[in-house]
């Protein structure tokens, strides 16, 4: 019988500091990597198993999006302004990048609910589900990124070298998404309102962010909103780098990326303390 003594006490996590909480959560993630992998395999591979299209579903969304933007562009419905890049390709890249943000927020908001089948039977570190969910969202993004790249190359779109580091440039958005989703996952346990509202809010946020248009030459209230919206820089600057090879807001992008890391650390600490207050409401 090992002599290591484990103690469970009331409010055990309340006194835990920021770095200690993050350290413990990181240790748990490393220790439970096999469980994360098994659950990732289960949920990622099995989601398309009982489907004729299979992984094709991941490709279908950008394909339909691409077709609709091509159609609207040809019909002259869209007036995106002057840009030295084919507009449908611009939208395709931009929405794919927005997709990883949106997908990651929704995935992270399932951190606690992802273990619903066994959360009442087994004691496991619940935060590891955040990693599993984000991996899943990121894997979906990588598949659609490869497909979009192949599509753009087929249409002879001129891609600059920075385009190929897109998977790295979306990481700050992923970090912000993790923070928002982690917060939502706690509130989701208590009330379903956040889960329902999240889809609407993210859809609306897309139009407040220069995803299908550029931030150039905007005036008045639109300009104010775009200037105040951090996603303008986290998404827009990254997208400009990828598409045009340069961005005017590189410094803001770097600052916000660092700030998003700090936000994630704070959210992790809050999740660590708050989840033990709500976990029994899951069961």
């Amino acid at each position: 019988m090992p002599s290591e003594i484990t103690v469970y006490e009331a409010h055990q996590r309340r006194k835990t500091g920021l770095f200690e909480a993050v350290r413990r959560m990181t240790i748990d993630v490393v220790r439970c990597r096999e469980l994360i992998w098994q659950l990732f395999k289960r949920d990622f591979l099995m989601q398309y198993k009982k489907s004729f299209l299979g992984v094709g579903w991941i490709l279908l969304a950008p394909l339909i999006g691409f077709a609709s933007w091509v159609f609207m562009n040809a019909a002259g419905v869209l007036k995106p302004g002057d840009m030295n890049f084919p507009y449908p390709a611009f939208v395709l890249i931009s929405t794919t990048m927005w997709g990883v943000f949106m997908g990651s927020v929704i995935a992270a908001s399932r951190t606690l609910k992802a273990g619903q089948g066994f959360i009442g039977q087994v004691n496991y570190p619940h935060h590891i589900m955040l990693v599993k969910e984000l991996l899943q969202a990121y894997a979906n993004f990588l598949i659609s990124f490869v497909f979009v790249t192949a599509l753009l190359l087929c249409f002879s779109v001129n891609l600059n070298a920075l385009y190929y580091i897109t998977p790295l440039l979306v990481l700050p958005m992923l970090v912000v998404a993790a923070s928002i989703g982690l917060t939502a996952s706690i509130i989701n346990v208590v009330s379903m309102d956040v889960e329902k509202a999240l889809g609407y809010v993210l859809g609306f946020l897309m139009f407040l962010t220069p995803v299908v248009y550029t931030a150039d030459n905007k005036t008045g209230i639109v300009k104010t909103i775009l200037t105040c919206n951090p996603m303008t820089y986290l998404h827009g600057s990254a997208r400009d780098l990828i598409v045009f090879g340069h961005t005017d807001n590189a410094d803001v992008f770097v600052c916000l990326s660092l700030a998003s890391l700090l936000l994630l650390l704070l959210t992790m600490k809050w999740f660590y303390v708050a989840e033990e207050k709500v976990i029994e409401k899951m069961i």
Partner: protein
Amino acid sequence: MTTKPIQTTMKLESDVVLRVENLRKKFCRTLKHSMFYGVIDSVRSMLGVDYATDRLRKHEFWALGDVCFELRKGETLGIIGANGSGKSTLLRLITGIYPPDSGRIAFKGRIGALIAVGAGFHPHMTGRENIYLNGTILGMTRREINDRLEEIIDFADIGDFLEAPVSTYSSGMRVRLGFAIAVHCEPDILLIDEVLSVGDLVFRNKSMRKMKEFREKANALVFISHNLDQIRVLCDRVIIMDHGKIVFNGKTAEGLIAYENMSKDKRVAVINRDCDAQNRLRQRYVDGNRLVCSDLGILNDLGDRTSEIAVSEELCIFIDFTANEVCDEIYFTLSVLNEKQDIDCLWVKSNDSGRYCFKDIDPGAYRVILRFKEHHLAPGVYFVNYAIRNGVTSELFDHGFTNVSFAVKSDRHFERGIVLAEDEWSLMHRR
């Protein structure tokens, strides 16, 4: 796969493997309040505001209150109690699934819980894939699963279905596979919540043998079950829980008797609750108002109404009735029925063989008392029915099925049956 334990300087005596100290856990009865408190508590946590959790708020209740016990190395502890008494909550707290609201749990080594089998199974994955998935969820490493894979497959005994998706399994096969994985996790302390009854007879026997094997490895076992026979066979000690509190902590034999007596008390209390003289009598067939029963019950040695007697005590039943006209002769029939009220355990007629003929009854209130010096009723819960008839014409005055129940208690464990008889057994070689 437990959360990373928080180490403290707390010490446990060398042979103590689990200690539970003043453990309390509260829950909320209403969904709206539960949601509200959830939001409040999470916001408080976010702001780092200190608040006491050992006080009850509106609609909250203690699911566990000041639970204390110890488990020693090699010991098997049974936890019994009615539904809602807090057994599963206690197990979830020990496992770390729920955090305590106050108090402390300390244990040595790794705890494994068998609360529900097949946690996290994916229906589209094969049995083999699910072994790896479920094994990892339960805290096994890939190497441990590889090492025990053959044993798990043998134990589950699902044959060629191993490579088929779990969705094609029967419910029995699914629980067998889940159970097989769970029992091969080999934690230092195993907690089992009512899952030994899965599968067919052969599998249940195999599970029981596995439990015995586990016990012999000198690990500690905590076992929750409503099957008192399993508790009697497996456990050295039992805890009885009632309304979130421990009401008994001692030897298994004594515990089982205490639990049986407690259960009988509760059943009788439920039956007798809100049961005044008026509604004690139900389904009555009364011929007018000539002679009617007004009350019926059991009396103790002191002549007071009671709802329990010992197996060795005499059974004394009274019937109060009112005669509203003169009757030449009356007689009574009285039956004692088992708890399901489908067997007459005792049935007597007062004027059998002309023994007790009650003649010349004038109008007025009367009480008739029936005594069984030796009733031979086995421990259990019983009901009383009655009939009052005219001794000359056999007309029925009043006949009623009653809500009057009583418990027969014993200091000996008695599993089933309705008659208590002294038994003597002997074993010999046959020529």
